[in-house]
């Protein structure tokens, strides 16, 4: 049982009923990506074009592997938030729910696949 008053329960949550959490998450991930994206562009761009042996050796090294892992995690979570706003702006009802669930599941799946690949190359 929650003894908090109704007013206290809704205060600060606005019409979205989740307050500024979405905005804050997007802001934090965008700042993280401002650092990660240039690092990822130059590490990935550097090794793209290499042979299979060169690529696996490169991603066994800490810096390229950690940059790639963080970029994939933060990037797809940032995408999940951004796609949510677009879907909520342009669709309604069941279509909206299907698109939201689809984009959220796609984001987590891509993170899992990316991390699995990086761990397998690093080990």
């Amino acid at each position: 049982m929650n003894y908090i008053t109704d007013r206290k329960r809704v205060e600060g949550n606005g019409t979205a009923r989740s307050g500024t959490a979405h905005h804050w998450n997007t802001k934090v991930s965008s700042i993280a990506l401002a650092i990660l994206i240039p690092a990822f562009i130059f590490t990935f761009g550097h090794i793209l074009g290499g042979s299979h042996a060169e690529v696996t050796a490169y991603f066994s090294r800490p810096f390229p592997a950690i940059v790639a892992a963080l970029t994939i995690i933060v990037g797809f979570l940032h995408y999940k938030n951004g796609a949510q706003v677009v879907i909520e702006d342009y669709s309604n009802g069941a279509v909206r729910e299907v698109l939201l669930i689809g984009s959220i599941c796609l984001s987590y799946a891509a993170i899992a696949v990316g991390l699995f690949a990086l761990i397998r190359m690093a080990l």
């Binding site: 965008s30 990506l33 562009i41 796609a83």
Partner: protein
């Protein structure tokens, strides 16, 4: 009763007859609106190359044969087109995102400043793309 409800945003049943906000196509496209929608388009379009790169990493971790397939796709003319386009998109989204963080702090919102920042984002995205291509 109807008189009482008039003007109340929830119970006024004449809401439907009120003038609508002008549709998007009535407005003249402006630098601020174009740079804004491009942020959204580039951000969402990046899902294509992001998934391609994750697939490429999975293929690399699976072995030389599968890697050859994924690497062939990424380095084909179509793959290169998508990657170069995404390179521009990610730099655009990067600069536009920094501009949004600046706006968020309550700065740069005067029209002339917002437009100058908009030009900076467009020009900067092409400059950074060219620099990246030259360096890599």
């Amino acid at each position: 009763m109807a008189e009482m409800n008039r003007g109340n945003p929830i119970t006024d049943n004449t809401r439907g007859q009120r003038p609508l906000s002008p549709h998007l196509q009535i407005y003249r496209p402006q630098l601020t609106t174009i740079t804004s929608i491009l942020t959204r388009i580039t951000g969402n379009a990046l899902i294509v190359s992001a998934l391609m790169i994750v697939w490429w990493l999975l293929a690399a971790s699976s072995g030389p044969d599968y890697f050859a397939v994924a690497d062939g796709v990424l380095r084909s003319w179509f793959g290169s087109l998508v990657l170069i386009g995404s390179l521009w998109a990610v730099w655009y989204h990067f600069l536009a995102g920094l501009r949004h963080l600046w706006f968020d702090s309550g700065r740069g919102l005067e029209i002339h400043m917002a437009e100058r920042l908009g030009i900076g984002v467009i020009v900067g995205s092409f400059v950074l793309t060219a620099l990246t291509v030259v360096v890599l």
